[in-house]
Each structure stands twice: as C-alpha cells, then as structure tokens.
Amino acid sequence: MEFMVDDSRPIFVQIAERIEDDIVEGRLPEESQVPSTNQFASFYRINPATAAKGVNLLVDQGILYKKRGIGMFVAPGAKARLMDKRKERFFEQYVMTMLREAEKLGITVNQLTEMIQKGANHR
C-alpha cells in the first residue's frame, strides 16, 4: 500500500492529521506510544525533521505528551478533545455548507430534516 502525501499542503500538518485520525478511530488508544519520528520518516519517506514538526504540533496542543527517554504518548482525554474539534469542523464543513446549498435550491429547513431522516432510515 502506498501512503500518499499531498505535495500541495505542508507535510507536517498532514502528519499531525494522520495521528489525529488514528486517535479518533481508536488505532492509537490513550496512553499508548506513538511511533517515533524516524519510524514516521521511513514509513512515509519524508524528512524526519518534518515528521518531528508534525508530532510537536500535537504536543503543543496537548494531544500527545513526551516521556523523557522513552518517546511520545497519547495524552489522556485526547480522543474526546479531538472529537469535539471534529464536531465543530463537521458543523462548519458539512452542516453550514449543506444549509447554504439547500437555500440556493429552495429547500426549506423542514424539508432538509425530512431528507436527513429518510437517509438515516435508508442505511
């Protein structure tokens, strides 16, 4: 499997996003050790310094923390905080966009709610 890195956005941001994904989706449980910078580097074939920058971004946000001499670990409560952040983003990216598009098409909020209900039943 080839893990593509998007060359049009800063790679350290993409690395941070990958780690966030892993935490949110449970592949990296809280208090578990995160792969080392060098492991990230050879896995994605990116510069180790870039990988370190991505990891440090999450350390700054309190998502990861450093155990001296051992490595980086997922902070307690990291998953919940990331979920909150994602929900906010979900609201902006999907709900608001949907509402704007619905408005253009003349769909009322009630109709939209009905459509969502219908979609949920359909699954």
Partner: protein
C-alpha cells in the same frame, strides 16, 4: 545552527556567460536540502565551487568554516556524487568502493555491501561496461555509504528506473535518520524528492530565486478557477504566476495564502480554490523571470 556552507556574493563567469551570478546563502548542519532549478540554471557550477573543483570568479565561500581549496580538513568531509562523474577505464565496481573506504573516514563497508546487493551491482564488472543506470547506482552506493558530513548528490539517477529511485529515497531517509548529516540533493524531479527535503533553494539563471523551508513553500500559492471574468475579478491586485483559459473558464495561480476575505470573495463568485503542488509552483516560478522582483516588492 551552525552553517556547513556559507556562500556570499559568489559569481562564476566564463568568457561569455555568467553561470552563477552574485549568489548568497547558507546551508545549515544536519538538514536535507534540495537545490532545484532547470537544467543550466547554474546548480552544478555552484556545487563544483563548493567542492573546490571549480574556481569562483568573485565572492566568498566557506565550507565547514574554511576555504575548501586544497584543504583536506574540508574535502575529507565531503562526498560529491555527480551524474557526469568519470571513472578510470580499467576500474571495476569493487575498485571504486575499495578506494572510497580510504577516502571517506565514516565509510561503512557493511552498509556498502548491502547497498551493492540492493541495487544489484556486479562488483567484478568494469565501470566502462556498466549500463547508465548501474553507473548511477555506483555513485549512489558511494554517496550513501560515505556517510560524509556533507553529502552532495547532483542528479544522481540518470538511467535509473522508478523502482530504483524510490529505493534510493527510502535508503537515504532511513540512513539519514540514524546518521544525521547534511545532504544536498540537486534534481529536476521535484515531485519525487520534495517530501524528503527540509529546505529548498531554487536557482534560476544563476541566481537564488527561493531559499525557504519546504513546508512553508507549500503554502506559497494557490489556484483559483471558475468563469474567466470572475477569476480576473478575484485576481485583480494580486500577483498571478500563471493563467490558463478554456472556453469561458479560467484558472490562475496566485501568489500568497488565501485569507478569510479571499475565501469569502471566492465563495460569492463561485470560484474554486486549490493548493498548488510544489513542483508546479517551482515550474511556474522558474519560467517567469520577473517573479523575484515582484515578490520582494
């Protein structure tokens, strides 16, 4: 950060051309640099001066804090692998690598042996009987196993297929992670290498066009596309690197990072904003001579 290479107002002129024109920059220790630019931009001349193989016309040059000319303290710490490297006619692959173990103090024989196998090199074969790709592989093996504090690869992979190039990047990143050193990678295959570069120096017409961290360069421009009139309205007052039109549609590459106002404007004009891959950005930058001046203004 200590500078491994310091270049100040360096110029190299031949009778009727100026290959390197008043160039200044510094290479910091322990990073992987990309020296990018079109063919004939002056990259090779620059590296030849850094390694004391060519003489500057004017300017200052310090490598590991000293002049590299006839200086073993500096030269023994440099390994310069170039596409056009010549080898003695009667040399075999094993002869080159054996000599390397004398020349480079950090030479790792086991690593070299593993690399020879990985690149499927026949150690007993004469250099002049190697295919172009194999010749490149010898250089790559020498460059990696030298573990030289300053390792320079100048278009090291002529004739190598995609699989071997990919192997080279993989091995470079792995070995660099374990044995950090300063690496300069000069190439025009920007797409392939950009993710392993920490810092990029772009040379165009013998001058430094960009000297920046790679990741910050990825935020340097964006594409806007939509109806021609709307794209023009959006681009007004902005620096446009490149324009393309197709029927009533247009797309433009705009310098900068779109702010909230830009996004709002784009939304109201129903324009799409996209990121620009590094390769595309550099191609457009180096095909526009006036960019350097506009960007500074």
């Amino acid at each position: 950060m200590t500078a491994v290479v310091e270049v100040s107002r360096l110029t190299k002129s031949y009778r009727d051309v100026t290959a390197v024109d008043d160039v200044s920059f510094a290479i910091e220790a322990g990073k992987i640099y990309g020296l990018l630019g079109r063919n004939g931009a002056g990259k090779t001349t620059l590296m030849q001066m850094i390694t004391a193989q060519a003489f500057p016309t004017i300017g200052e040059l310090r490598v590991f804090g000293e002049s590299p000319f006839e200086n073993n303290r500096v030269l023994s710490r440099i390994c310069f692998i170039k596409e056009s490297q010549k080898y003695p006619d009667n040399y075999r692959v094993a002869d080159v690598l054996d000599l390397c173990s004398d020349l480079f103090p950090n030479w790792d024989r086991d690593f070299a042996d593993r690399l020879v196998e990985a690149f499927r090199l026949p150690p007993k074969r004469q250099m002049r009987k190697l295919s172009r790709g194999m010749l490149s592989s010898v250089g790559i093996v020498a460059g990696l196993a030298s573990r030289a504090p300053l390792t320079i690869f100048d278009e090291p992979y002529l004739g190598l297929d995609a699989a071997s190039r990919s192997l080279f990047y993989e091995l470079l990143v792995e070995d660099y992670a374990e044995h950090p050193r300063t690496v300069i990678l000069s190439t025009h295959l920007i797409d392939e290498v950009s993710r392993i570069l920490e810092h990029v120096i772009v040379i165009n017409d013998g001058r430094v066009l960009i000297d920046e961290e790679t990741d910050s360069l990825r935020n340097r421009a964006f594409t806007v596309s939509g109806a021609t009139a709307d794209v023009e309205a959006f681009a007004k007052g902005k620096t446009v690197l490149h324009r393309e039109t197709l029927g009533g549609l247009a797309s433009a590459i705009v310098v900068g990072n779109p702010g909230a106002d830009d996004r709002q404007l784009a939304r109201s004009l129903r324009l799409e904003l996209d990121n620009v891959p590094l390769q595309q950005l550099i191609v457009h930058l180096t095909s526009r001579k006036s960019y350097g001046k506009e960007a500074k203004a």
